[in-house]
């Protein structure tokens, strides 16, 4: 076996040192009738064969490398600068684990500290952790955190315009400890969550109001007014925000949000068929002791040299066991590192440029589609990089035609979710959608 170094002679010497005759003897404590089962698994392959097998598997998938794509809905196709994989594959980042021993883990710890700083600044918040599994679990953990901060209140109010899969995850996470969910309907004209609907949905039992910014339908939510409505009812405001949009839009921290969460994937991560991504979670310092997950902090050694350590650990499961703020242990540190590299490389101007391109390309696409007969945009609220249209054909049929005739991966058929949006199509454009590709989509829809 190529990953193990043992020779027969070494094995013999080791068995001798242990005082047994065979490796089998080391398993004498395993019930005999269940010991060493014959497993029905494939035979091992050489590296060369594995490479060939994967070339074949990969060839059965239609990738962004060969096709233009207008899908978003929580996973966005952005450009990944070459330095990101190059730096991430450095063994020192890649094959280390949680920095339990700070003297030999300063690379990871300093990166986490830089990550926390940049994420907090991106959302206009005071502190961010590192990290949650993804955007959906970050939002669910934020709801649990809000319930701890508003102890005694047993309801979480969530906008219907939050990603449906995020709402499913929220329901799963809240089910264990018996928190209730109230759904705030979105406005069928604007496509936004309106402050009056929040006011109507909440009461003295509501711990938090959860919205998405921009929301699942692409609409830019009136976060300041929604936060105000939440606060008027004594509830916290929790905002699941798009991180790229933060370069253009006022951040949740300036709009009254108490906790901001996000899916970090749009910050330069490949699509990876849905994961691994990274959940972001930011808040103010007064809430920090109820935060889930890892935090790195500044520290000094005896000679006054600067370093970083994992800190505020009594929140975590390995110290607090059943009283921990969350059971999360292994998180998404390497993806957080990728995000840190991305933000460092783009800087404020680069990220604003990505945001601007998303805005202008998606608006160009919307304008071109609006010229076609029989297609309309059902919602009036301003949008950032994705929007809903109602095409003349059912979206599933349209997507199939686009793929078969043009090799285009179309938009999302919103009929697959329980939103009352049958016949609606969610389209996205980023810096990866050239004018030519947009024109080709519009022509294909027209034909």
């Amino acid at each position: 076996m190529r990953y193990t170094p043992h020779t027969e002679a070494e094995i013999a010497a080791m068995l001798d040192a242990i005082g047994v005759y065979s490796i089998d003897e080391l398993f004498a404590d395993v019930p005999r009738e269940h010991r060493f089962p014959r497993l029905d698994l494939p035979d091992g392959l050489s590296e060369q064969e594995v490479a060939a097998l994967f070339r074949d598997l990969a060839a059965r998938n239609g990738s962004m490398d060969a096709h233009s794509c207008f899908l978003g809905a929580g996973a966005y196709h952005h450009y990944t600068p070459a330095l990101i994989p190059h730096l991430l594959f450095r063994s020192e980042f890649y094959t280390a684990y949680t920095p339990y021993q700070p003297e030999v883990s300063q690379g990871t710890l300093q990166t986490i500290f830089e990550f926390q700083t940049m994420i907090a600044r991106l959302f206009g918040m005071e502190v961010a952790n590192a990290s949650m599994y993804d955007g959906s679990t970050a939002l669910a953990e934020a709801a649990l955190m809000a319930a701890r901060l508003r102890r005694g209140r047993g309801t979480i109010a969530v906008s219907e315009a939050v990603h449906p899969e995020y709402r499913e995850v929220l329901a799963t996470y809240l089910s264990g400890i018996g928190l209730r969910i109230v759904t705030i309907p979105f406005d069928r004209t604007t496509g936004r969550t309106e402050p009056e609907a929040v006011a109507a949905a909440i009461d003295s039992e509501t711990a938090a109001v959860l919205v998405q910014y921009p929301n699942f339908l692409g609409a830019i939510e009136p976060v300041a007014e929604l936060s105000e409505a939440a606060h008027a009812g004594g509830a916290l405001s929790v905002v699941s925000a798009d991180p790229v949009a933060q370069a253009m839009l006022r951040p949740p921290g300036e709009l009254g949000a108490d906790i901001a969460t996000a899916e970090g994937q749009p910050l330069g991560l490949p699509l990876f068929y849905g994961g691994p991504y990274v959940g972001l979670l930011a808040t103010s310092m007064r809430n920090v002791r109820q935060m889930p997950g890892r935090l790195a902090g500044l520290a000094q050694d005896a000679d006054g040299r600067r370093g970083f350590v994992l800190t505020l650990k009594p929140r975590e499961q390995d110290i607090r066991r059943e009283k921990a703020t969350s059971n999360i242990c292994t998180n998404e540190a390497l993806i957080a590192t990728a995000v840190t590299i991305y933000l460092a490389a783009l800087g404020p101007a680069g990220l604003r440029e990505v945001a601007d391109q998303c805005y202008h390309r998606s608006h160009h696409l919307a304008a071109r589609l609006a010229e076609l007969p029989g297609i309309d945009r059902p919602f009036t609220a301003p949008f950032f990089r994705e929007f809903v249209v109602r095409p003349p054909l059912p979206p599933a049929q349209l997507n199939r035609r686009l793929w078969e005739r043009e090799g285009i991966i179309g938009g999302l058929d919103l009929g697959r979710f329980d939103l009352g949006l049958e016949g609606c199509w969610l389209l996205t454009a980023t810096e990866m959608n050239s004018r030519a590709a947009i024109d080709r989509l519009v022509e294909a829809v027209a034909s």
Partner: protein
């Protein structure tokens, strides 16, 4: 034979924020080739984005130098107990990076991702075969996430039968995630003690069992590195009391081809693909969990599960009795790719050999060091050996923490320390199968040298490490006055 080394770790580069120069930028996009649209109203727009400004070479140098302050598996021995820091085969990363596997969108039509779906389906099937539990979800993102999935399945199972059960039994040797998971699933965690032999105290278990008990979350091999003897009787007793058995599979590196947890009475098991199946640990993730259950519990798995119709693969969302999703999309797919590549590389025989050699390596360390450190449970171990340095602490005032820090000076990452909690001054050493006898001999020699130092020059060990750019950090002050972000210019630091 073993002598202190230069760790080669670099001094700290300045923070990104300290290197920032206004006007620099490290990435250039293709120019905007569509007309500009009218901008949003001013009140929606942000002013000011305080991110650092650097050129590409500066960013590359910064992160290269930052990385060189880490110790990693690719640099040397990393026997961090319970974490299975084995070698991460490079082919796994190469294939995971293929555009056909990395650049695909989770909402693409299933007809356009048949390769990805086939991979997921086969991985489900084979993990189920290893577990002896036929139904598998790849949605959990890490071990603790798999635990939560399992604990919620236990809840759903009892609720479907109209039973209200409030308590989850957790052995005192469990990972901290187990009680935290039980609490997240709405259970009170009740501790069951370990017996004198290092297995679960069966009499105490029987006392703890009652009609309030939803299940038992057990780790096997446990965190003492020991196979839980009487596991089938334990499982039978839990079942007899109407509960389910959850097995924390963090230690499955010792078990593949050794025994199938399902055969031993386990109802639910999670795998850590980043331990047993060689997915790199990334400085703390991403991992990948996978949760396997009995056929009876299959309806409770999160949607979707991948299924096969003839030669077509699809996501099955119709799971009306499910606990619901535990995350968006389908899990850490790109890590499932790595786990699958590892499984295909080793095959059934190779995986069995993996577990056998992991157990051989751990027992070699146990036997070699039995005369130097205390072994609280002196019997054959599985994938890791847990020692106690209590005698050294008592005789020389040198604690486990000091020994761990001194190992750094010998070029070795410290083992897990002070865990499990039931062993005083614990050192939990997990060598994994990918280490040679030569490396293990070096570790043995280094530990012996440190123990000699502890007797002769204890202050040297207590002040370790001496070979790193920084010494021990003041964690107490860091926690008392937490500085968790770098201040903006003008902010009070």
């Amino acid at each position: 034979m073993a002598a202190p080394v230069d760790t080669g770790l670099l001094p700290a580069p300045p923070l990104l924020f300290e290197q920032s120069v206004p006007g620099r930028n490290g990435v250039q996009l293709a120019p905007l080739d569509v007309p500009r649209s009218a901008l949003l109203p001013d009140e929606l727009l942000r002013t000011g984005l305080p991110l650092p400004e650097l050129s590409e070479p500066e960013v590359v140098r910064h992160f290269t130098n930052t990385s060189r302050r880490n110790f990693s598996v690719d640099q040397g021995f990393y026997p961090l107990g319970s974490c299975t820091m084995k070698y991460n085969p490079k082919i796994n990363d190469r294939v995971a990076d293929l555009p056909g596997l990395a650049a695909i969108h989770p909402y693409q039509d299933e007809a356009t991702v048949q390769g990805a779906l086939r991979l997921l389906w086969e991985l489900q099937e084979w993990l189920g075969e290893i577990a002896g539990l036929p139904a598998v979800s790849l949605q959990p993102s890490a071990g603790a996430h798999g635990e939560l999935t399992g604990a919620l399945i236990i809840r759903a199972y009892h609720e479907a039968a109209g039973r209200q059960r409030t308590t989850m039994l957790v052995p005192d040797s469990a990972h901290g995630t187990n009680p935290a998971t039980a609490a997240m699933a709405g259970y009170r965690a009740r501790t069951v003690p370990t017996g004198k032999d290092g297995s679960l105290d069966f009499a105490a278990l029987q006392d703890a069992l009652g009609d309030d008990v939803a299940g038992l979350m057990i780790t096997n091999p446990n965190t003492l590195g020991l196979f839980v003897e009487g596991i089938t009787d334990i499982a039978a007793a839990v079942h007899e009391a109407g509960g389910l058995v959850y097995m924390d599979g963090a230690n499955m590196n010792a078990m593949v081809g050794v025994a199938r947890p399902g055969d031993l009475g386990t109802d639910i098991l999670h795998f850590n693909l980043h331990k047993t199946f060689s997915v790199p640990h990334g400085g703390g993730g991403p991992g990948a969990g996978a949760t396997a259950v009995t056929a009876e519990l299959a309806p409770f798995l999160p949607p979707p599960v991948v299924c096969r119709d003839g030669d077509r693969y699809r996501h099955d969302y119709r799971r009306p009795r499910s606990i619901g999703r535990v995350r968006a999309f389908y899990g850490n797919f790109n890590n499932a790719v790595r786990g699958y590549a590892y499984l295909r590389s080793l095959g059934g025989d190779g995986l069995a050999e993996m577990s056998r050699l992991a157990v051989l390596n751990a027992n070699y360390l146990r036997a070699a060091l039995a005369g130097d450190l205390e072994l609280p449970y002196p019997r054959i171990c599985k994938h890791e050996a847990v020692f106690s340095a209590r005698r050294v602490a008592k005789d020389h005032g040198v604690r486990t923490l000091d020994i761990a820090k001194r190992l750094i000076d010998y070029g070795i990452h410290p083992p897990t320390i002070y865990f499990p909690l039931i062993v005083p001054e614990a050192l939990m050493v997990e060598p994994t199968e990918t280490e040679s006898k030569h490396t293990l001999d070096h570790f043995i020699a280094a530990l012996r040298a440190i123990l000699a130092e502890a007797a002769a020059t204890p202050e040297l060990v207590r002040a370790a490490p001496h070979s790193t750019p920084i010494g021990r950090l003041d964690e107490a002050t860091a926690a008392r006055r937490p500085v968790l972000t770098w201040p903006l210019p003008g902010d009070r630091p």
